[in-house]
């Protein structure tokens, strides 16, 4: 099915939810409100004409500077019918929550965890929402546009601070001369024997 026709179908089924339909490079993205995202995905998956059974990718995008929202982007594709559509669910920045779709796709589990980890979007109904790529105890969400590229020294993550101390300690150690002196010692020992 043509992507625009799919978008039209979604619009007919959920008239209150669809905010905008955007076309870009032959692909169609449907910007939707976050409230009915679970029902919408279930419908997309079960509707015999669409059968969007494969969740290609799930990620978050920070549009806070533009319109005060985050977007969770669902790229869906149908393996038997060979078409795809993109859902972009808007999540307001002051209330970063959206329903999880792990009950529909088990594979969404880690993708949602990653999205939570890097953008701080909370997925309601997710079985095990923890940090995944970043170490536990990390502060802040790096993929937000407000997150600086270089943190001030006092806000640096403790693990990194320790690592830097260790490397400073080890850099005083001169491997080459140590090796030479070891060789000299070994030579002296052999000479003794």
């Amino acid at each position: 099915m043509e992507p625009l026709a799919i978008a039209e179908k979604i619009k007919n089924q959920f008239p209150a939810e669809v905010i905008e339909v955007v076309e870009s490079r032959g692909q169609v993205g449907v910007i939707v409100a976050r409230e009915q995202i679970g029902a919408m995905c279930r419908w997309l998956k079960d509707e015999p004409e669409l059968r969007m059974d494969h969740l290609l990718a799930l990620c978050g995008v920070d549009y806070v500077a533009k319109n005060g929202t985050y977007e969770v982007v669902y790229n869906l594709c149908s393996i038997p019918l060979r078409h795809m559509i993109r859902l972009r669910a808007r999540v307001p920045a002051d209330d970063c929550r959206i329903d999880s779709v792990t009950c529909l796709w088990r594979g969404a589990d880690w993708l949602e965890r990653e999205c939570f980890d890097l953008l701080g979007i909370v997925f309601d109904g997710h079985p095990d929402l923890r940090r995944i790529l970043l170490p536990e105890g990390w502060e802040g969400y790096p993929l937000r546009k407000t997150y600086p590229l270089r943190l001030p020294a006092e806000q640096e993550w403790q693990g990194y601070v320790q690592l830097k101390e260790l490397s400073r300690e080890l850099s005083r150690f001169d491997f080459y001369s140590d090796m030479l002196s070891n060789q000299a010692k070994a030579g002296a020992n052999e000479a003794k024997k």
Partner: protein
């Protein structure tokens, strides 16, 4: 000295699991193919629950990409799936070209198809080598590396590096293929099927191999789609999904090949699927060699490597980048606004790039859909109730690379 503060090792323990024996497999374990750590809860030798722990190799690629130009990020894609870097280069460039609306000349498309298939062969050979090594068949490793070495030599001749190739460019490829390299490749493709037969002689009907792989780690078709598996791991379960056929890119719609489909979805079927794919890849390369058209290797509207970031608000006479800060406005005719998701069939599965452009010279957001990440995510489900020795076989058969998983 600095162990436990680094990473909170405590994974939530569920009710009734406190009696179980826990094993932390990895992150420095040769059979986890990188720095993957598995927390296993075991009842005797049976795994009751498996909780994979990724992120040890996280380098923040998606954040880096937001601060580099499109061309500057290209060498970093080598470091995603570093055992078949060519395929990543191709995938990245195909996605950026879709975003920037660049039409790639036919010759470059054929060259890309060719190197992507070569990358698939190198990837699958390394997979077979290490997978067999994990299960206990040491000899296969040596045979696979012999052929992999030939291909890496070819990569070096084409691109100047064996692993981190950076061969493609936005709008084409770095340099044209030489006649000598093509001759070598033709000879390799001619010989390769007989080499595959050698590997098969070693393990295909070997009773130890069969015992270790048949009926282990079965994934049903429905389950595989649910978990988001792609590539040979999905096709072994009997689902016909191949990006090369579904959404053809490069020259895949101009060559003939078949997609091997498995039946049982166990470790053995995943192995068979990949072996058939090796043959198909050789077939594709041969067709590309035959059909390789003359012509340009870079698109006419391809951007320069030094990509302009955005237009200055007012063109200042005699100013240069070095003279100071210039106020910039979006450069919509070079980098049109919009978003695009493009995926290719890498050797591990579907490698997708989701780009959002805001008109600046850098991606506003780039998401990498890496197959390994999703496969490791599904490991918990597949490993439930298997023996601990089979966990190794299952990790091997899913073919994960942690560089791609953790990004």
């Amino acid at each position: 000295m600095m162990g436990t503060e680094f990473r909170n090792l405590a994974v939530p323990v569920r009710d009734g699991e406190s009696e179980l024996f826990t094993v932390q497999m990895g992150p420095q374990h040769p059979a986890t193919h990188g720095v993957l750590k598995l927390n296993l809860w075991m009842d005797g030798e049976t795994v009751v629950r498996c909780d994979p722990d990724a992120g040890y190799l996280h380098r923040g690629f998606e954040k880096i990409a937001e601060n580099k130009t499109y061309a500057q990020f290209l060498p970093l894609t080598d470091r995603l799936d570093y055992i078949s870097a060519m395929a990543n280069n191709v995938g990245y460039c195909v996605a950026v070209e879709a975003l920037l609306r660049i039409e790639v000349p036919l010759r470059a498309q054929y060259i890309r198809t060719m190197v992507a298939e070569m990358a698939r062969i190198t990837g699958h050979l390394l997979w077979l080598a290490t997978h067999a090594l994990d299960i206990g068949a040491m000899t296969v490793f040596l045979y696979c590396f012999r052929e992999r070495g030939l291909l890496l030599d070819l990569f070096e001749e084409l691109s100047g590096a064996r692993l981190t190739t950076t061969y493609t460019r936005i709008g084409g490829v770095r340099q044209d293929v030489t006649a000598r390299a093509m001759e070598k490749l033709a000879r390799f493709v001619e010989e390769f099927p007989s080499r595959i037969a050698e590997y098969e002689t070693l393990i295909d009907t070997n009773r130890i191999w069969l015992k270790r792989t048949k009926g282990i780690g079965c994934v049903s078709a429905e389950q595989a789609v649910q978990l988001g598996f792609t590539g040979p791991s999905l096709r072994a379960s009997g689902v016909d999904y191949d990006v090369r056929k579904h959404r053809p890119y490069c020259a895949y719609d101009k060559v003939q090949f078949e997609v091997p489909i498995g039946v049982n979805g166990d470790v053995y079927d995943r192995y068979r699927c990949r072996m058939e794919e090796l043959r198909q890849s050789a077939l594709i390369i041969r067709q590309c060699l035959e059909q390789l058209p003359p012509g340009a290797i870079v698109a006419d509207n391809a951007p320069d490597l030094v990509m302009p970031l955005a237009r200055p608000r007012q063109p200042m006479a005699g100013s240069s980048l070095a003279t100071g800060y210039i106020e910039l406005v979006p450069n919509n005719d070079v980098y049109p606004e919009g978003d695009v998701y493009v995926s290719i069939e890498g050797s591990k599965g579907e490698l997708g790039f989701y780009f959002v452009s805001d008109g600046g010279g850098r991606p506003y957001r780039m998401h990498i859909r890496s197959p390994s990440y999703i496969h490791i995510g599904g490991l918990a489900t597949v490993c439930e109730g298997v023996l601990v020795a089979d966990v190794i076989a299952i990790i091997g058969s899913l073919d994960v690379v942690l560089g791609e998983c953790d990004r």
